[in-house]
């Protein structure tokens, strides 16, 4: 059961949970802010659309293609 920190909130998830699912488990499910200021959430679920890109441990990653690991730091806002 990995523990991760999402926008400052600590969260424990089931083994194998994607970061995209953790976004919904921790808060409103949103992943990023668009160029015109809209909040967005994962769309395609399979690594195509890039809507779910978040910052994980300082690197830009796709939330839907990344599994949660213990100690992960996830940010959805710059």
């Amino acid at each position: 059961m990995p523990d991760l920190v999402l926008d400052g909130r600590t969260l424990r998830v089931a083994e194998g949970t994607t970061v995209a699912a953790a976004l919904a488990l921790a808060s409103d499910g949103c992943s990023r802010t668009s160029v015109s200021g809209q909040r967005r959430a994962p769309l395609c679920g399979m690594g195509i659309c890039q809507e779910c890109r978040v910052t994980i441990d300082g690197r830009r990653r796709l939330a839907c293609q990344t599994l949660c690991h213990d100690g992960m730091q996830v940010r959805t806002r710059p």
Binding site: A24, S34, R39, A41
Partner: protein, 418 residues
């Protein structure tokens, strides 16, 4: 770190796994590269809320048990860095892989069409919702509407219901005549007939499509046209997918010829480029059974076992028949071209509205004027939509094929693998 493979396979879905397992007895050094965290592709995507069929588990175990198959998950192709050489990247590293033979098993993505409100959080693809649920997205007691076209709508609904969601409506744009005609052909493929019964849902409506997603900050409801009548439903999630588009980008970048919207292949699953094969959905949508047999043919052919490949031809023909029936039944109604309004965003990466695109001569002119398709997804979403809306042909992709780290691009200076 650089690597060399006698046989490099891109994609670890049914086609890619099947290709690797068919080629493995030859003793070839095989590398399977996959963007997903685990093998299985989308249909066999694993996760805390997924239930995998036995066949998927067995193939995954066999893949791991073969000492001459190396599997890199969470790894993307960034560029073609030289003849028979690719630059790739995972979460931590970039490196180059050289190869002798290559099999493209890059699958398909959903056709996502723009409609008012589709950028609201709570709106996903149909297969998209299914993939997210398998990965642990909670939908217990949520009200879900599913819309679009194709059998994926029923599969997505089944996954949502299995995980506690209330599916209020499944809106299929195809007519009842088309869907019934397809259903009547199913006894030709008994396994599919059984599967279709298990997926049937009383909220399924043909001749129906989404009109708008409603809500301010997030989805609150959906407006549907159901057999001519406008209805509005309050809901928490809307999953919309309008069929599948083959992922041909890497094949195109390598120089493989297209046949319509898919990679062109011959009887051996060989593309127009020597030593390059393709199998599964990237050669045209046909479902996992067709992908499995095509993958096996490609795997055998790539290691020179033409006899084993040839033996599988009849089975491929049988599943190609299923694919043809499917694609005819769910062809898209022209009504869907008028869903987007002037202010509806078409390019979600660069937030480009429909009005900024309509009237341009082609995809290139629209890109130059609006930045449409020039964002992070590199036109994978809006390119498919604009091909349907305006018949614009997307151009062959240029590297980097997806966002990459500078350190990865610096690997281009490395000595090529031998």
């Amino acid at each position: 770190m650089n690597e060399f493979a006698d046989l490099l396979i891109i994609g670890a879905g049914p086609a890619g796994m099947s290709a690797a397992l068919a080629a493995a007895p030859s003793g070839a050094r095989i590398i399977v590269l996959d963007d997903n965290p685990l093998p299985g592709g989308q249909i066999w995507r694993d996760g805390p809320q997924a239930s995998l069929p036995n066949q998927a588990r067995q193939m995954r175990e066999r893949l791991h048990a073969n000492s001459n198959i190396r599997h890199h998950s969470g790894t993307r192709v960034i560029a073609c860095s030289g003849p028979k050489q690719l630059l790739v990247e995972d979460a931590d590293h970039g490196w180059q892989i050289g190869y002798d033979k290559l099999i493209l098993c890059t699958g398909a993505r959903e056709l996502l069409l723009p409609f008012p409100g589709w950028t609201l959080p709570g709106v996903t693809g149909a297969g998209g919702l299914q993939a997210l649920i398998k990965g642990g997205l909670p939908v217990q007691d949520e009200r879900v509407v599913i819309a679009g076209s194709g059998p994926l709508l029923l599969a997505s609904a089944a996954t949502a219901k299995h995980n506690g969601a209330h599916v209020l409506s499944i809106a299929e744009q195809a007519s009842s005549v088309a869907v019934t005609g397809f259903a009547l052909q199913l006894p030709r493929w008994p396994g599919k007939l059984v599967q279709s019964f298990s997926l049937f849902d009383r909220h399924y409506r043909t001749g129906s499509h989404v009109v708008a997603a409603l809500g301010n900050e997030r989805l609150e409801g959906v407006r549907l046209r159901q057999q001519g009548k406008i209805v509005e439903l309050a809901c928490d999630r809307l999953a919309c997918g309008f069929g599948l588009i083959p992922n041909t980008q890497l094949g195109q970048a390598l120089g493989c010829t297209l046949d319509g919207t898919a990679l062109a292949v011959d009887a051996w699953q060989a593309t127009s480029l020597a030593d390059h094969y393709a199998a599964g959905e990237c050669t045209g949508f046909g479902g996992s059974e067709l992908a499995l047999v095509e993958g096996a043919i490609a795997g055998h052919a790539a290691v020179g076992n033409t006899a084993a490949a040839r033996q599988l031809w009849p089975r491929r023909t049988r599943w190609q028949g299923f694919a043809k029936a499917l694609n005819n039944a769910f062809s898209l109604s022209p009504h869907l071209k008028s869903l987007a309004q002037a202010d509806t965003l078409v390019c979600r990466c660069e937030d480009v509205p429909y009005a900024a695109l309509a009237g341009h001569a082609d995809w290139r002119a629209a890109k130059l004027a609006s930045r449409c398709g020039m964002g992070a997804c590199q036109g994978r979403v809006c390119g498919g939509a604009l091909q349907y809306l305006f018949d614009w042909q997307p151009s062959a992709p240029r590297p980097p094929f997806s966002p990459a780290r500078i350190e990865t691009l610096m690997c281009l200076d490395d000595t090529p693998p031998a």
